[in-house]
């Protein structure tokens, strides 16, 4: 599936914020954040039942942001929803900040689990989903993972287990940007046939353009895709989406010390429609 959707004006606002955070924080995994921005936005806008005034509300849906390095996108949405003041965004990673280079549940309101070491979140999500089932609660669990992250054996351990337990209250979102740290996934570890892999592990699978907001919304509103299976939504995305310079560019996987002229050039790029 191709990724064709254009970035709308709110998507551009989010991207401006991400760039500003990058400068304010001094560093960040830009590519990963730009890749998941629309997924995270739709989750918080339309899907997740959460309460920013009471982040620990027991009936909330659980969202495990397993590809923790993409947290700039998560922070943007959490601030937008009022989990913490927006001005904190600009000081992430600094001494004493509540926002780190990877999300931490004991520091940042709204962050469900501390992630950053790849391959942990899906197992945690399986545990959450099992707990909801034991308690006969209707809150649901969502886990966002990366495609590179899916090189980890632990992801597939968790997938086996989710399939075994038929966790229909669990939805996995895969940020399938076909890129990882070093470069294109096909040069490192190709995952194809990816959808078939999930299917064979017992998941109900759908695929979507991961930057197409209306379709993402419509598809996620249709979860669970099968009442007796965990769902996986494979989101076809572009790493670094939104700026010509950053798209499919390994140099922008993690970026530190962005120069003012680089920032200006990027902001310009955003103006021309992508």
């Amino acid at each position: 599936m191709e990724q064709r959707a254009l970035i709308d004006s709110r998507g551009k606002d989010h991207r401006r914020l991400i760039l500003q955070m990058l400068v304010g924080s001094g560093r960040g995994h830009v590519g990963a954040a730009l890749s998941v921005m629309e997924i995270v936005r739709v989750l918080y806008d339309d899907i997740l039942r959460v309460n920013p005034q009471n982040p620990q509300w027991p009936e909330r849906d659980r969202f495990i942001f397993s590809k923790g390095h993409g947290c700039l996108a998560l922070y943007v949405m959490l601030a937008e929803k009022g989990f913490f003041p927006k001005d904190e965004l600009m000081r992430s990673c600094h001494f004493g900040s509540r926002l780190g280079g990877h999300p931490e549940s004991r520091k940042t309101p709204g962050v469900e689990a501390s992630t950053g070491a790849l391959g942990h979140g899906l197992s945690i999500g399986v545990g959450c989903a099992l707990a909801a089932r034991i308690d006969k609660k209707d809150w649901r669990t969502f886990v966002l993972i990366g495609d590179g992250e899916s090189n980890e054996g632990s992801v597939w351990e968790a997938a086996l287990s989710a399939g075994k337990h038929r966790l229909a209250n669990l939805t996995v979102l895969v940020d399938y940007n076909k890129f990882q740290s070093y470069g294109p996934s096909k040069d490192i570890q190709d995952l194809e046939p990816f959808a078939d892999k999930w299917r064979s592990f017992g998941f109900a699978v759908r695929e979507v353009d991961g930057h197409d907001v209306p379709t993402l919304r419509e598809t996620l509103l249709a979860t669970p895709f099968d009442a007796a299976k965990p769902s996986v939504l494979i989101c076809h995305t572009v790493k670094g989406k939104g700026f010509k310079t950053t798209e499919h560019n390994a140099d922008w996987h993690h970026k530190a010390k962005v120069k003012p002229e680089e920032l200006q050039a990027l902001l310009q790029e955003l103006e021309v429609a992508l």
């Binding site: 070491a117 391959g119 942990h120 545990g127 308690d135 968790a158």
Partner: protein, 307 residues
């Protein structure tokens, strides 16, 4: 000891609906009643230790108290990052019951020996590490585990060990137990080496020497106060553990003494040297080869005292 632990989990489950049991492809023995009575809180999962640690984290984040049992090596080494991040960083009440702590699986070879479990578990912030000395004490640990804050690693020794603990002395996680008191030498032990230390104390008494045996069942948090108090009353201090000398009980006692400026006391640590114990045979044979016996402990104590 494993039996005592698993039967206790069933008791706890009856008392508290938060208790869940998770096993990783282990024997049914001693679990049948739990499985029959609480099928929705009983999980027999596959051989994927990384996953079940994360799964237990998710359960605990959602209000459950998971008790997880499998082989000690698989529960500590295989999934170390999951233990560190998912359990300890999040400070979650997950109880790890490690079967075959130390050299219980001696005949199975080095892949199955948990000789560094205490060291690696002790190195993680928020972790609690307990090595009970017998089945009775295991029951006491288990009963206290329910309300213990944060993750807990419980080292299970081989079955059928002689019972040396008793209710009279009480039990509190984190508080070392003086099993007997003497004035010449302090023997500090943990897990089943407490039995060895008690036998060594008997041997010493035949030579007119009296020993304190301090059973440090909790390796972390470490009871520095009691170690220092009993060390101050002794002319020599010896430690004995079924564990590598790198980072276990002996290290903790040495750190405690040095940090308190009491490093001058004659001191010997018994444990496994920094090697893979390759001998096979039985636990007793391996412990014998490396001097983890009452005779050797008593002899080393006499040597220290005669210096």
């Amino acid at each position: 000891m494993r039996k005592a632990a698993l039967l206790a989990v069933h008791e706890l489950a009856k008392r508290d609906p938060r208790v869940v049991f998770v096993g990783s492809d282990i024997t049914k023995q001693n679990l049948e009643k739990f499985a029959a009575e609480f099928p929705d809180r009983y999980f027999m999962e596959g051989i994927y230790e990384q996953h079940i640690i994360g799964m237990c984290a998710g359960l605990a984040m959602s209000g459950k108290i998971p008790y997880l049992n499998t082989i000690a090596t698989c529960l500590t080494r295989r999934c170390y990052e999951q233990v560190l991040i998912d359990l300890c960083l999040h400070e979650l009440p997950v109880r790890l019951l490690g079967s075959g702590g130390g050299t219980v699986y001696a005949p199975l070879g080095p892949t199955h020996l948990a000789n560094e479990d205490i060291a690696i578990m002790r190195a993680i912030p928020n972790m609690t590490v307990v090595a009970p000395c017998d089945a009775d004490e295991m029951k006491r640990v288990m009963m206290q585990s329910l309300d213990w804050h944060g993750p807990l690693y419980i080292r299970i020794a081989k079955g059928g060990d002689k019972v040396v603990s008793s209710d009279v002395r009480g039990f509190k996680i984190g508080e070392a137990i003086p099993m007997r008191e003497g004035k010449d030498v302090l023997l500090v032990s943990t897990g089943i080496t407490t039995q060895v230390a008690l036998d060594a104390a008997d041997l010493l008494s035949k030579d007119g020497l009296t020993a304190t045996v301090l059973h440090v069942h909790t390796l972390k948090p470490f009871d520095t106060a009691r170690v220092l108090r009993y060390a101050a009353q002794a002319r020599a201090v010896l430690t004995i553990e079924e564990h590598t000398l790198v980072g276990g009980l002996g290290s903790a006692v040495a750190e405690t003494l040095m940090d308190a400026g009491k490093g001058g006391v004659p001191f010997v640590r018994l444990g496994f040297p920094d090697v893979f114990t390759e001998e096979l045979g039985s636990q007793a044979e391996i412990m014998g080869k490396y001097g983890l016996t009452s005779a050797n402990l008593a002899a080393k104590a006499k040597q220290l005292l005669s210096k």
